[in-house]
């Protein structure tokens, strides 16, 4: 089966202009990354800030062009460096951003937020656009009467639902999600993750899920790619990576992730008690 999205040796350079004291130079943010995601699956990209994970996400979402390598969407080679992606391609790939407070225009009603992708990319008549937007609101767990409200009237979790609804308006096959739950409270995070899982089942969506939170990744991913300094240091199925992380950087990430296991807490409390008695005696 052709993968929904495939990358071959993707490279991205940023040009840093020089000044009086420093020469101009190129920074390679993504250094030749290969990946592929099958239909209905979730690839999680894990890394720290500055690792290049968001750069890669923007390349996959057809927002920024790659400086080198090949990107294939449903088996077709895509190059957006010369020409912006047309409606057909745009309809296949959509993106959800990290901060739902920043990604919605505060002066746009929710109905307009949702119908805008249709206006730009399709010639669906106005009445049908409205109907589709109302139906989509329901699909993501909001109410049709939210259609005429503004973003500030919604909570963070609801806004992220709106951002997801907007991304789904064009019936994409691939959704790129850049830290979609990291700005949300824990209980809201659970709701949004459940919603994403439901939508994936229902619509056969493929996800590229960028995250720094390993507990979220463990819950949602089929495959995991760990990137550090622009390189994919480890790639594999979720089971394989969580059972047996081999790269030192992956191990470091695991070691740093807080453990909420009762036995671990018991051990820590005991250690602390011992240390205290040590100082008293």
């Amino acid at each position: 089966m052709t993968p929904v999205v495939e990358g071959r040796a993707i490279v991205r350079d940023y040009h840093v202009p020089g000044n009086m004291l420093r020469r101009a130079r190129n920074v390679r943010a993504v250094k030749g990354i290969d990946f592929s995601v099958q239909k209905g699956k979730t690839l999680a990209i894990v890394g720290e800030s500055g690792s290049g994970k968001s750069t890669l996400a923007r390349i996959i979402a057809l927002i920024d062009p790659a400086s080198g390598g090949e990107l294939l969407i449903e088996g077709q080679r895509v190059d957006i460096s010369a020409r912006r992606p047309g409606p057909e391609l745009r309809s296949k790939v959509q993106m959800v951003f990290q901060n739902p407070y920043g990604s919605l225009n505060p002066r746009q009603k929710i109905g307009d937020v949702l119908t805008e992708p249709l206006i730009i990319n399709t010639d669906v008549p106005a009445a049908e656009r409205r109907d589709r937007a109302r139906a989509m609101l329901q699909k993501v767990g909001l109410m049709p009467e939210h259609y005429n409200r503004y973003p500030h009237m919604f909570s963070g979790g609801q806004r992220q639902r709106i951002a997801i609804a907007r991304a789904l308006m064009l019936n994409p096959s691939l959704l790129v999600l850049d830290e979609p739950v990291s700005a949300l409270d824990l209980s809201v995070q659970a709701q949004v993750l459940n919603l994403l899982a439901d939508l994936q089942d229902e619509m056969g969506l493929t996800y590229v899920f960028v995250s720094h939170d390993l507990s979220v990744v463990r819950y949602i991913a089929d495959d995991v790619m760990v990137i550090s300094k622009g390189e994919a240091v480890e790639q594999g199925t979720r089971e394989a990576i969580f059972a047996n992380p081999t790269h030192p950087y992956t191990r470091q990430l695991f070691a740093a992730t807080p453990v909420t296991d009762v036995e671990a807490i018991r051990a820590r409390v005991a250690r602390r008690k011992a240390a205290r008695q040590g100082t008293v005696a």
Partner: protein, 279 residues
């Protein structure tokens, strides 16, 4: 033994549509050398109650409490001058956004020496030496060089170390950390939490850690207060809280942790209790 004691703290904000109660009758105490975590989601009033202690709330806020004492002294009855002696010396605080907490126009060395000058009366060489000592204590590499750096020249983790250095400059007996690692990567978060815990043990400080992250609670706290919509839901020793949570809200929070997921779906708060029951 209690360092800070708060009884029946209520904070109201005057808003255009009437008064809004952000903290509603919260009791709280922290002992010497103890790490207390206050956990809650946004809007739970966890930061507001600590800002009330620090006196950092805007004029629109009304703070009332049956008792608010630090080491036996009544904080609410203090004159502003008395309060300034306490806040920033005996009780200090660090915030979520380390880069935003520092003044971008001055070097971090200037900013830490300012604290030493104002609070400890140190100047010149003495201040410089103490600043170096503090930078070493919080693990900033090349401290001599870094004193001359501006905040934008340092990473988020390093800026938080500077903030911690400033906060412990006066040997406080109580440090309040408001989401100190939320803006940081996990590996840096680990370093900062380890640093806070080792300083807490070395200096014997009381530490109040405000967080929404159950993982942070599990790794640091002795005792935990869970807040929801301005009210205290539960208070327990950390092990009891994770092993045997009493309040439905705590159970919901723990179940919503992705690492505790058993089936395909994550339980959400509404699976555990309807919000009407709490309000």
């Amino acid at each position: 033994m209690s360092l800070l004691t708060i009884r029946n703290l209520t904070v109201r904000f005057a808003t255009a549509t009437g008064s809004f109660t952000a903290v509603d009758g919260v009791d709280l105490s922290v002992n010497r050398g103890e790490v207390l975590a206050i956990v809650g989601e946004s809007g739970s009033g966890k930061s507001v109650s600590m800002l009330a202690v620090m006196g950092l709330l805007p004029d629109t806020a009304t703070v009332t409490a049956d008792q608010m004492t630090y080491d036996g002294q009544d904080i609410l009855a203090m004159t502003p001058a008395q309060r300034r002696k306490l806040i920033g010396r005996e009780i200090t605080m660090i915030f979520q956004e380390p880069v935003a907490s520092l003044n971008p126009s001055f070097t971090v060395g200037f900013q830490i020496e300012e604290v030493l000058r104002l609070n400890l009366g140190l100047s010149g060489k003495a201040a410089r030496n103490r600043a170096l000592e503090l930078f070493r204590a919080v693990g900033i590499p090349e401290p001599e060089e870094k004193l001359k750096a501006y905040p934008h020249q340092m990473s988020g983790g390093q800026c938080q170390r500077v903030m911690i250095a400033i906060a412990i400059a006066s040997n406080p007996r109580l440090l309040i950390a408001d989401e100190p690692t939320t803006a940081l990567d996990v590996t840096i978060q680990k370093q900062i939490l380890d640093l806070l815990m080792s300083l807490q043990e070395d200096y014997g400080m009381g530490l109040i850690l405000i967080t929404h992250d159950m993982g942070v609670v599990a790794e640091t706290a002795d005792r935990v207060v869970v807040q929801y919509k301005g009210r205290k839901m539960e208070e327990a020793e950390v092990l009891d809280l994770f092993e045997n949570p009493q309040s439905p809200y705590t159970r919901a929070l723990l179940a919503a942790l992705p690492e505790h997921a058993t089936g395909d779906r994550l339980p959400t708060v509404s699976d555990f209790f309807d919000k009407e029951a709490v309000r």
